[in-house]
Assembly symmetry: C2
Amino acid sequence: MAHLLSTSCSMKVSPSEKLSSKCWNIGSTKYPMSFTQQTSKSAFKSLVHQRNNTQKLTVVRATTVPLNQETKAESGTSSFENNGNTSGRKRVMVIGGDGYCGWATALHLSKKNYDVCIVDNLVRRLFDHQLGLDSLTPIASIQNRIRRWQGLTGKTIDLHVGDICDFEFLAETFKSFEPDTVVHFGEQRSAPYSMIDRSRAVYTQQNNVIGTINVLFAIKEFSEECHLVKLGTMGEYGTPNIDIEEGFITITHNGRTDTLPYPKQASSFYHLSKVHDSHNIAFTCKAWGIRATDLNQGVVYGVMTEETAMHEELCNRFDYDAVFGTALNRFCVQAAVGHPLTVYGKGGQTRGYLDIRDTVQCVELAIANPAKLGEFRVFNQFTEQYSVRDLAALVTKAGEKLGLNVETISVPNPRVEAEEHYYNAKHTKLAELGLKPHLLSDSLLDSVLNFAVQYKDRVDTKQIMPSVSWKKIGVKPQTLRA
Amino acid sequence: MAHLLSTSCSMKVSPSEKLSSKCWNIGSTKYPMSFTQQTSKSAFKSLVHQRNNTQKLTVVRATTVPLNQETKAESGTSSFENNGNTSGRKRVMVIGGDGYCGWATALHLSKKNYDVCIVDNLVRRLFDHQLGLDSLTPIASIQNRIRRWQGLTGKTIDLHVGDICDFEFLAETFKSFEPDTVVHFGEQRSAPYSMIDRSRAVYTQQNNVIGTINVLFAIKEFSEECHLVKLGTMGEYGTPNIDIEEGFITITHNGRTDTLPYPKQASSFYHLSKVHDSHNIAFTCKAWGIRATDLNQGVVYGVMTEETAMHEELCNRFDYDAVFGTALNRFCVQAAVGHPLTVYGKGGQTRGYLDIRDTVQCVELAIANPAKLGEFRVFNQFTEQYSVRDLAALVTKAGEKLGLNVETISVPNPRVEAEEHYYNAKHTKLAELGLKPHLLSDSLLDSVLNFAVQYKDRVDTKQIMPSVSWKKIGVKPQTLRA
């Protein structure tokens, strides 16, 4: 199964640190003292250069990327070296750090003085091109995002562009960054995307499962005490007719009792891949003593976090289309452009929801309070429960206050799911660690609606209605026609 | 991720049916009237020929395989056509039909007048070469096996050699055979193999999970009512401290009750892949209405079935090595060659066991009593429970009766598993369908021991002790040194 993306490039853009003469200087086109072209299976060049202080041989593999001059003027020369652990600060590798949750989290952690590196193959941006989609908000390149952050805060974020399914790439990244924690967002995270056709169902499970297995092996091999903070999903549990617990349930059966993993009932090839990850991770905690926290996250809404709001070039992506958009975000954009709110079926589908500001807060709480070695922890990461109907009503009310005329329609449900069901999911553990939730308030809805109105000229209303059907998925590769 | 095996070949060897003049005749080297070489990504030729009766265009893709003359003399000319459903008999595709359970099952079903086709990429035979292993029994090539069966019974078995992870190959096979039932053994089924190194852990999960997803898509696309009979494993449940039920458990929790999938706690990347399969299959039953039976099989012992005993060339493989051998089979071979019985750790590990004669019986019962459309059934497929210690004692007693001097040693456990635990697993559903179990008896032990003694000169004692450690698995590709 050919990788979608086989090139890989690791590049540490850290304008604030002085470059020694032996290293590469962006301002000029001078290459480092020793530059060897290492032919390997993927089409990229290897820059092998000596790090000036610890003389540690770092293989930095990079495709040639034209860095604009502006960075140099603003923040002095850039260096292509990683000074290693200068501060004793916790080193956090954010896999999928260019994505909706990943980017906001990477900045939040950097602001909180963690040493952060982003690992991402940027395939999410490729999906936009392939499916003809685009973020409501214009988003800068990851390189410019990182430079802007450094320019504003002086804080370095390393960037490793590559595919974690390529173990050679992942191993090099681990060896060069030496993480204490890995936050793993780096998966294909859309249920509709996984149900487009056979090849995307296969891609989703293969990319997500093999990527996570590679991360587990990299931790075992290179950073045994490293804490894996993995993004799971509340969707792993499905909609059982009993209370949902946080990862485990104590069962008394035929007079005996045991605490066992909570039964899983996922409803898309995407959600299923998260179930597979959870089982794989739990096994390695038992067999290898790995410490892991599985964050079963609810549906995320909102776009602004303190850090991404600092500058236009730090702005987060905001998806409203039927493949990647999440329910509340979609409703706000629909209201902003006068499109009826698209409630699937009866609208009784109830899930856990949380503000993206709480996503970054929860991840930081998990990092700051790591699992023990050999412990597989599960936190249900959401703050409130709503049915889709509830959300539509809230958005309608908030929209009308802003003078918007908001309607709601029932759209034939493209998914296979219960549309009226019991749903009572526990979520106390993160609160016990100190989560201060941003509950869904009128003010929050106002801000998201206003935000959507601000960018409404960028909305392509053809992307709103669902075109992927759970039942009609076939084997022929599909090119979605908006 | 390159396929291990990318060539594929479908060839229906059926010496008993008369060839029409338009078809290909093995006796001579004459090719069929129309023979076109279809270039496609895998290195094989396509034979496109008109079927004489239904004029249905069948694409038969085959690598050129030298068929020996003997078949012609014994059973008239061979035909390379598939007569389609001449009899109204059930058509059963046995994926993995060259393996230990697959071969015995394919013959059993053929004997019971099912139209059988075997789909296999023969990678299990490659593993023997790669790991320096060999079956205790000499096994004929799959081509000679099939010819021998046809020579003895006049019954046709189609053979499709290819990889089910290659969807193009699988689709062609489905379209040409049109199965009513798919029996899916076609997975990497060894726990130790999956724990050799990272690449084999990844291969095991990718091969098993993606292969099964492809089978589900093929059923949905080409044979919607086809019944999937999938080989799962009792290992999916782990060793919980409560009774193990057959796939589902009714839980009363906080005053509410629901019947949910039984919690899974697998203990190797192989067992985990079966857990992933089960979740994926259950989802497609719910979303697409697929009918499936998950046979969670215990540890299989024995070698002879009625059909494989009919001729030396039909003989089944019998693995005794530490990677593919199963506990009781290994003990019998160890006793036969005077090697101490290798009990891992304390030996309290308790599992379900069954005779291979009951494997084929159970599969047939499941086929004859198919699941309903949209039903995901789970049967626990074993007949008795034993601890490893129990088995060692039984083999010692039976061996001594045959004049063998049998010792037992405790070997450091290479696995991560409970060595003393509660184990009470339900297994009533197959009995309710009429399973007549062959329970573990002295006579059975005698026959397996005598069988092992008969072939003891073929035993390589260097293959007996375990060399794969759950804890020491690493990222470097390993070449096992016996």
